[in-house]
Symmetry: C2
DNA sequence: TCGCGTAGTTACGCGCGTGTTATAAGGCTA
DNA sequence: TAGCCTTATAACACGCGCGTAACTACGCGA
């Protein structure tokens, strides 16, 4: 049993279930240095990668970018921008422009960027990412009791309207 | 000589020069029904496709989406949205969300969409598109005099900061 | 009508990003 | 420590979105 999630980290298949991606994607992204596990990398067959909670957020950002039709080159720029910034992600918007990537806090900055005439802007509301990751963790993690077998079947698109659970103390 | 541009339309290689794409892309997009010429389609080898000015705008939107890292599936949604709307494109923003595509006039609507928590938004400022297409036409079209040989070498990224020439009477 | 330039057609191949399957090897329980 | 289960690795293949090149055929001028 031994959850080994909230303190030790998240292993490959767990990450796939939480983020909503395939293991092939997670493996490919780790091999191509898009997102390698920050707690423990793989050291041969049989070993296990260990992802942190922050890794889950970045992976979810990548998945949302792919769902929006973007390629992994843009996803790489997104994670680079996320790594360069602090950890006040829950209220920010990640903006990918042709001239660079920015983290904005208010909508006014986005209006300014649009008026600047920089071309196409790809905007990721990070509050959604935090909320969906937290919801998936709560839904999939064995909390401590013996009721871990009754996990919701599909938590891919929760459709919850902006419920900020903040369930990560 | 016979310009045959502003009244008859634009042929394949001309379109590639104006929009900034390769002929292979233009051909592939026409064959896959992404954007077929609205004036005259190809009827076998040796014939010629004829694109309208509106086609140039939509092609430029596609190119900007590709430059932003999006795939042709999103570009298809973009042109579908552009065809369903009127022709007041110069002041609008094309917004591609995971739940649908919208044409917005003010930046306020984009703020509302971000607050709605719909996920990633891809925004195309259409004023840029109109301006760059017009500039490329002026730069590449033989205006009437014999000075058409002195065309600027590369007009791919003009870098002009929001110069709204509106040179299309 | 002949010839040539121009433009569309066809075939082959590539890189990206991933699905599928089989294989190998560590990790955890007994 | 024996054993199985889990997890990473490897090889192969596929569709997308083109590049490249050869081929074909219209169109226009002489």
């Amino acid at each position: 049993m031994t959850p080994a999630n909230l303190e030790t980290g998240y292993r490959g298949p767990q990450v796939c279930a939480i983020v909503g991606i395939t293991y092939r994607q997670l493996d490919y992204w780790a091999r191509t240095d898009l997102l390698r596990p920050s707690l423990a990398d793989a050291r041969g067959s049989g070993t296990q990668r260990l992802y942190s909670y922050r890794d889950l957020l970045e992976l979810k950002v990548i998945k949302q970018l792919l769902d929006a039709g973007l390629n992994l080159r843009e996803a790489r720029r997104a994670v680079d921008c996320l790594r360069r910034s602090g950890d006040d992600l829950a209220t920010a918007n990640l903006v990918l422009g042709v001239a660079g990537t920015v983290l904005t806090q208010s909508g006014e900055e986005i209006i300014d960027l649009l008026r600047g005439g920089q071309g196409v802007l790809n905007i990721v509301p990070l509050a959604n990412v935090v909320g969906e990751i937290d919801a998936a963790i709560v839904a999939l993690a064995p909390v401590d009791g013996p009721l871990e077998a009754s996990a919701p079947p599909v938590v891919d698109e929760p459709l919850t309207p902006l419920r900020r659970a903040a369930g990560r103390g």
